[in-house]
């Protein structure tokens, strides 16, 4: 197993023959030590995998988590309804949250003290609040506080997710805007652009390079937070992945739906992680004329 490494390193060592002969034979080079320690780590991993494979009660495990018939029974609703709802909830919450976040970021950078202060309080407040609390207040607190003022379920979820994500995104956007050199604004203003025109045509597009990767990460976090919608209860058609999973587990008295639901979340989040990495690679290296 370690042979490919040996040849690989051997080839590289071959180029450094004078160095190799110069060092005393008794002492191991750093590279050799690293190779041995890596070998030991791989060995431990293999042992753990073997132990699990031997000790695990495979028939019971498969019977509990891997019942193909139950998984198949969840189709196509798990995709056409639950997965779709999760995407819709997350998408709507994200878009509203992003709009709020842009406003908050601009308020944070405003020359008007009151705006800065309001944005600061909002951000500090919602950044520290667990998503669960926001959902509870939105779903159960507000209807009690304002009787008769009942919002559609979708709107409640959308606002709750927007509140959860906007504070964090506002800080990301503010940092991105501040990373754009002041000279860009000065050049834009000297060409007669108003400050808002300069912000939207010159600063924000350049800030996006810095903002996009962390924003994609926030979208992943929000996808998972959308699972909290289940505590609000919903019609059968309004269930997102987590709610459907819970219902199916109760129905089937089996944990297979967990696995199906987990796979569905991964279907959403893995492409997003990939996108985030691509964006980071694309924009991470500053090849622009920005100085």
């Amino acid at each position: 197993m370690s042979s490919p490494h040996a040849t690989g390193d051997g080839g590289r060592n071959g180029t450094g023959i004078p160095v190799a002969t110069a060092t005393p034979k008794a002492k191991m080079s750093k590279r050799q030590k690293a190779k041995i320690s890596r070998g030991i780590q791989y060995g431990i991993l293999v042992v753990i995998a073997v132990v699990i494979a031997v000790v695990a009660d495979w028939p019971t495990l498969i019977d509990t988590f891997g019942r193909v018939d139950i998984a198949a029974g969840m189709l196509p609703d798990v995709i056409t309804k639950a997965l779709k709802n999760t995407v819709v909830f997350t998408g709507l919450g994200f878009v509203l949250g992003l709009a709020i976040a842009i406003v908050l970021a601009l308020m944070r950078l405003s020359s008007v003290g009151v705006y800065r202060w309001i944005a600061f309080v909002y951000i500090e407040f919602f950044r520290g609040l667990p998503a669960l609390v926001v959902f509870l207040v939105m779903g159960f607190g507000l209807p009690v506080a304002f009787p008769g003022f009942i919002l559609p379920q979708l709107v409640v979820i959308m606002i709750a997710l927007a509140l959860v994500s906007s504070a964090y995104m506002a800080e990301t956007i503010r940092a991105g805007i501040q990373a754009v050199p002041k000279g860009q604004v000065e050049a834009a203003r000297s060409l007669g652009m108003s400050s808002s025109r300069a912000m939207f045509t010159i600063v924000l597009p350049q800030a996006m390079r810095i903002i996009l990767p962390p924003l994609t990460n926030e979208l992943i976090l929000l996808t998972k937070d959308s699972s909290l919608a289940y505590i609000l209860g919903s019609s059968v058609d309004g269930r997102e992945l987590a709610a459907l999973g819970r219902a199916e587990i109760v129905n089937s008295a089996n944990l297979t739906p967990f696995i199906v639901i987990a796979l569905c979340y991964l279907i959403i989040t893995i492409p997003l992680s990939y996108l985030s990495r691509v964006l980071e690679k694309k924009y991470g290296s500053a090849d622009s004329g920005v100085k």
């Binding site: 050049a187 652009m193 004329g289």
Partner: protein, 261 residues
């Protein structure tokens, strides 16, 4: 409003830029004490002086990138310190070139030259393109129309920045040490573009350390130190035969850097 102001300025023969008793403080740090300076239409004024003497600050007060603390600045009949002035409209007529170029990094050269034309002046895309092409030709970079600023050398970027400012058809151009951030071998191209501009009759205020350029191109040289204008006059006087001791000291430092102990 603009056309009548221009007409009155030219009719009375008053200077294009008129700075009176300009003061500027940053907090308790008074950077400009009392600056008065006139620049006539078509004149090239070079501003020289030691680092920290307030040259950039003075230049940036002219288009109100810095808000003056006192005094008055009139450009082309527009009172730049008047709070009711439409500052965005006023700045259209004052081109500015920065030490660090400040090209818009996310836009191509073409877009750098057209974005303000279309969004601020309201020119059509094709009209803006024509103006951009003409100005890029003027700075000798026609082949770089679709390039991104990041792929250009410093000297090329600065020439694009000049073309960008020219594309707004300004009445006056302000230059803040346009060659200070450049590799020595690209300085000449930028200075040549500025020389051509001066010959074409552009009104220019140039903060620079290029004494040779000032000597050859400037109609007038202004020496600033400690937030005041110490000495001003034709280049052959201020650079060639200065009256003030502070000017002499400064010039001997820049012209013969090796000989100072």
């Amino acid at each position: 409003m603009t056309s009548s102001a221009t007409a009155s300025a030219t009719a009375t023969g008053s200077p294009l830029i008129s700075i009176r008793n300009l003061q500027k403080s940053f907090g308790s740090n008074q950077v400009l004490t009392d600056i008065s300076l006139d620049v006539d239409k078509g004149e090239v004024v070079c501003v020289i002086g030691p680092s920290g003497s307030g040259k950039s600050t003075m230049l940036r007060c002219i288009n109100v990138l810095e808000t003056p603390s006192g005094g008055s600045i009139v450009v082309d009949g527009m009172d730049m310190t008047d709070l009711d002035l439409d500052i965005d409209a006023a700045r259209i007529r004052i081109g500015m070139v920065f030490q660090s170029f400040n090209l818009f990094g996310h836009l191509t050269v073409r877009e750098n030259l057209t974005v303000a034309q279309t969004k601020v002046l309201g020119r059509s895309r094709s009209e803006a393109d024509k103006v951009a092409e003409a100005n890029l030709a003027k700075v000798g970079l026609s082949e770089k129309m679709e390039a991104k600023p990041g792929s250009l050398s410093g000297g090329q970027q600065q020439r694009v920045a000049i073309a960008r400012a020219l594309s707004m058809d300004p009445d006056v151009m302000l230059f803040d040490e346009p060659t200070s951030a450049l590799d020595p071998e690209t300085v000449g191209d930028v200075l040549q573009v500025m020389r051509n501009l001066a010959e074409a009759g552009m009104t220019m205020v140039v903060v620079t350390h290029e004494m040779e350029f000032a000597r050859q191109v400037a109609d007038r040289v202004v020496f600033m130190d400690g937030g005041v204008v110490v000495e001003e006059g034709p280049a052959r006087d201020v650079i060639g035969n200065p009256r003030e001791q502070r000017t002499k000291d400064f010039l001997s430092r820049v012209l013969h850097p090796g000989q100072l102990g």
